[in-house]
């Protein structure tokens, strides 16, 4: 019973689907951020698995940069979220329909 690349790709797809379900059914913006993290992590698993099974470092490099991008996304996103919460006292997605500013 050997674990092949397909096992990892299927796992990554399952995790990606969970993240997509989260993005589509969540209304709280913080929870939406969590779902985004799940999406990024599932892609990382696929990249590192491909890197291992093809003996190539490129996948690990890309996973590394994805982690850096995720970190900066969290910093900026949480800053904007805190700003929005101070002004409107809610982080619900349905309250953001108007573009009044």
């Amino acid at each position: 019973m050997e674990i092949t690349l397909t096992h990892y790709l299927v796992l990554s797809t399952i995790l990606f689907s969970i993240g997509l379900i989260g993005v589509m059914r969540r209304k709280n913006l913080l929870m939406l951020f969590f779902a985004t993290e799940i999406l990024l992590n599932s892609v990382n698993v696929a990249l590192v698995a491909i890197s291992h099974y093809y003996g190539d470092f490129t996948g690990q490099m890309f996973a590394f940069f994805i982690i850096a991008i995720a970190a900066s996304e969290v910093a900026i996103g949480l800053g904007l979220l805190v700003l929005w919460f101070k002004q409107y006292n809610t982080i619900d997605l349905d309250n953001m329909k108007s573009m009044k500013g």
Binding site: F16, K27, V45, F57, I76, F85
Partner: protein, 186 residues
Amino acid sequence: MFEAIAFYLFSFLTIVMFWITVTTKHSLYALTALAAGMIFISAFFFILGADFMGVVQIIVYSGAVMALYAFGMMFFDTTRELKEKPTKTRLVPILGALAALLVVLMVIAPVVGENITAHYPIDVAIGNSQAIGMVLFTKYLVPFELAAVMLLVAMIGGIVLAGKMMDEDYSSLSEEQIDEKEGAVS
């Protein structure tokens, strides 16, 4: 054999943790489950021999990102249950299945082509961290520097966005003074 056991165990744990993150009504449960899922993800990296990525996953995700979320959640009211209106349409599962199918196709497409050769082959003689450093600081030096600049910009942006009105020490004020300040602000 042990690899298979570890793979299935950590797959199960990761899927359960992320499912809890996506479905739970308490944001604190979601945060904790997400942190646990991140650590279980790093187990895959260790199984795959990518030691450096596993360590970075634990330090950056479970350490920095989760701590940032925990600090962010102090601003929001996290103790009460999330009141989310469920999406009524049947569209969500259909769209989810379609998107998952698309992802499978995207992932399978390059794997079907068998004529893939390694640009930067993994050398088993030197350790993973050392080899990553060698590739990172030669072939990927410019993206690395760009990522560093991007992280700096993100840090400054986060401070500027969230750091307004933080120069006042609320903990040393009395209740009346805080009420006064809050009234003046809003």
